[in-house]
């Protein structure tokens, strides 16, 4: 067996293409980011080596803390909403007891298929204080409360996170559905009982069997949240003021709006390390042994 699974030539053949491409096109540029984060550099000229001064400056920059905080909020909202709703929907659709499951299955994924520009434009219209649908719904329900979430510096980040959570829930749904469908039939039988009992069975049997899938869903949601950029770029431009900045946005601002590539690289480097730590922690917390049937 050892010879079979330890076949050196096969291993090399299997891992070389991915390693090669990844190293050249992704890893090498990242190395450059770390290297350049120690320079005062405009992206074009030679630049001056200043070692850790960019980091020192960053840790004194209030924008850095706003960005860090927003990234964490984003990550938590994504993780909680996407995975919980994704689980409920995926398990429901997978157990074959629901009528119209094909339509449901297709519908839940539709927002993912659309481009992020379309979805952001839609939600801009929804959140609009004057003509927005959400306020119209409040009005119809007879509530006097009127939201203005996107333009309030305290709520804007939540409002944006909600949009992202909603759009990409379909990813988690699809992944969890694929996982649920990969569970051998006899385990699913147990979950085919009725009502509340059924969810208890899922909780005890099905969900633990999908631990590996949960692991990467969690990584996807959290790193996606920490990295968030496009949503705020389209919806608020980081505003009002700087209240919806994330580390990626801060990098973008430093590198392109201000022309301080070195400083931008420092926030990018910090982001990469932050994500690595989170992934490492997730891998530790969720049992990484293979599931034994």
């Amino acid at each position: 067996m050892n010879k079979f699974l330890g076949n050196k030539i096969a291993i090399t053949l299997f891992i070389a293409p991915a390693l090669l491409l990844f190293t050249v096109l992704v890893f090498w540029p990242i190395v450059q980011v770390f290297y350049r984060s120690m320079f005062e550099w405009d992206g074009l000229t030679e630049g001056t080596f200043i070692f850790l001064d960019n980091y020192k400056r960053m840790f004194e920059d209030s924008l850095f803390y706003t960005s860090l905080y927003n990234g964490l909020i984003f990550a938590v909202i994504l993780a909680v909403l996407q995975i919980s709703i994704g689980t409920v929907l995926a398990l429901t659709v997978s157990d074959g007891l629901i009528k119209g499951r094909k339509i449901l299955r297709i519908s839940y994924f539709i927002p993912v298929v659309l481009s992020i520009t379309v979805v952001c434009q839609l939600w801009l219209a929804m959140y609009n204080g004057e003509y927005g649908l959400i306020n119209k719904i409040f009005e119809a329900l007879g509530l006097s409360y009127r939201q203005d979430w996107l333009t309030d510096s305290k709520t804007a980040i939540f409002a944006i996170a909600l949009v992202n959570a909603w759009q990409y829930m379909g990813y988690h749904f699809a992944l969890l559905l694929a996982a649920a469908r990969s569970i051998p039939e006899q385990y699913m039988e147990a979950a085919k009982i009725d009502g509340a009992e059924r969810w208890k069975a899922h909780w005890k049997v099905t969900i633990p069997l999908m631990a590996e899938t949960y692991k990467f869903c969690l990584v996807l949601a959290i790193t996606g949240g920490l990295n968030a950029f496009a949503n705020m770029y389209i919806m608020t431009g980081g505003g009002p003021g700087t209240s919806t900045y994330t580390l990626t946005y801060m990098m973008y601002r430093s590198a392109f709006r201000v022309g301080e590539f070195g400083y931008g690289s420092a926030s990018a480097a910090f982001l990469v390390i932050e994500c690595l730590i989170v992934t490492f922690a997730i891998n530790r917390l969720i049992a990484r042994d293979r599931i034994v049937y």
Binding site: D42, G43, L44, T45, L124, Y127, N128, G129, E130, D148, L150, T151, D152, S153, K154, M235, T236, G237, G238, G239, P240, G241, T242, S243, Y252, R253, F256, R257, V258, G259, E260
Partner: protein, 432 residues
């Protein structure tokens, strides 16, 4: 469509030429009748705005003129992206800058440091560009090191505070000159369900301009003074102006959710008579006149006191900055690219003057305007010689760090929970 047509046309041309050539393909190009030896066409890459009616008009006009003047030059257009110069920058980093590109102050500053932009002094001399400039717009030709890096066309533009005369009359509101009167106006309009002032504050350059309006009431140098270091954020004027803006926002000057209004939404409020005032550059004259006719006008910016109002009445916000068509330092056709760049700049100005009804251009235009100037434009051009000072638009600020900071901070002034002190300290830390 135009592009497709021109491709079609040129391929038809190619085909017919080939057909004429018949058997002697080899010397075909030498045989074709042409004006001298300069027969070969050169294609230049150009990076310019081409994304709405307005910018398309300019480009198409200039290209049509170019075809008459220099038929041997073909332009290969790349549409400018709204990406904070990301694309140009990565072009520069890879040595792939287009031969001609539309450059603003920030690109000029960055690219001259890294030797990506061609210094155009000689070429400008050859083209007699300086003589063609409006004397008042020379500030848009020379960068702060007294060299030329781009051929300007826009001229010195201004921030205007537009208002709907009819709404003011109907509601018996005096056109405000002081902060107090402005507050009264705000209250009256609010009670009538009219938005007092519309601003597309999703864009941060306009929030900067809005702040600058108030700052220039105390200190005519406005944000430009901070940019050049002549004034400091800790100067009383800047705190007071921030406080004024905060007070007015609290009084309800701006519509709800203003920081998320884009141009189309904010302009619709004003154009449809739902908002009494509107802030934009003077290029808005055309659109506002089209929507409101002679009901549209502009007022001098209200000031904290009547005294300051009179004193700084003609201290305008806005102004020109170096920028326009620039040439890559690595182009293979330096002379030709510079020639075309200066030609394009002249034609852009010509189009603005003759077709868009605006006398505010960088260069002198010797053609007659085909469109009569809108009344507001007439008033403005009467005001222009008397203008005592100007500042800059956000894109004309030379300190990029300060520019980003004031853009963010001025937008923040329009929402709850941000104080004048925070505003000043944010500016200070950017200017450190």
């Amino acid at each position: 469509m135009k592009k497709a047509m021109s491709i079609l046309l040129s391929s038809v041309l190619m085909f017919s030429l080939a057909a004429c050539g018949g058997g002697n393909d080899a010397n075909e190009s030498a045989d074709t009748p042409a004006n001298g030896g300069e027969e070969q066409t050169t294609t230049l890459r150009i990076y310019a705005q081409y994304s709405d009616e307005d910018t398309k008009g300019y480009y198409d006009y200039a290209v049509a003129e170019l075809a008459k003047e220099m038929p041997n030059v073909k332009l290969d257009l790349e549409v400018q992206a709204q990406d904070d110069g990301q694309k140009l920058k990565s072009y520069a980093a890879t040595g792939n800058l287009p031969d001609i590109f539309n450059a603003g102050q920030d690109q000029i500053n960055l690219f001259r440091k890294s030797n990506n932009i061609l210094q155009l002094d000689e070429y400008a001399k050859k083209a007699n560009f300086e003589e063609k400039m409006q004397p008042s717009a020379l500030n848009t030709l020379y960068s702060d090191d007294q060299h030329i890096y781009a051929f300007p066309y826009a001229g010195n533009e201004f921030v205007l505070l537009y208002y709907n005369k009819e709404l003011f009359e109907q509601n018996n509101v005096k056109v405000p000159t002081t902060k107090e009167e402005l507050v009264t106006a705000i209250q009256t309009f609010q009670s009538k369900g009219i938005t007092p002032m519309s601003v597309f504050a999703k864009e941060k350059w306009i929030t900067t301009a809005l702040y600058d309006i108030f700052a220039t009431r105390y200190e005519p140098k406005g944000i430009k003074g901070l940019d050049t270091g002549e004034t400091k954020p800790s100067d009383e004027a800047y705190t007071k102006a921030a406080q004024d803006l905060i007070d007015l926002v609290k009084a309800g000057m701006l519509p709800k959710g203003v920081t998320n209004l884009n141009y189309d939404q904010a302009a619709a409020l004003f154009h449809e008579g739902k908002a009494a005032m509107f802030v934009n550059g003077q290029w808005e004259v055309e659109a506002s006149t089209k929507a409101l006719g002679d009901k549209a006008g502009y007022m001098y910016y209200p000031a904290p006191t009547a005294e300051l109002y009179e004193q700084n009445k003609l201290a305008f916000s806005g102004g020109g900055s170096p920028g326009g068509f620039a040439v890559s330092a690595n182009t293979k056709h330096k002379d030709l690219a510079a020639e075309v760049a200066s030609f394009m700049a002249l034609k852009y100005a010509e189009f603005k003057y003759t077709q868009k009804g605006s006398p505010i251009v960088a260069t002198q235009v010797d053609k007659e305007a085909e469109k009569e100037f809108d009344p507001m434009m007439v008033t403005l051009s009467e005001d222009i010689p008397n203008i005592t000072s100007t500042t800059a638009f956000a894109w004309g600020l030379s300190n990029a760090k300060f520019k980003a900071a004031i853009e963010d901070a001025s937008q923040n002034l329009l929402v709850d929970g941000y104080s004048a002190e925070q505003f000043i300290s944010d500016l200070e830390s950017a200017l450190k």
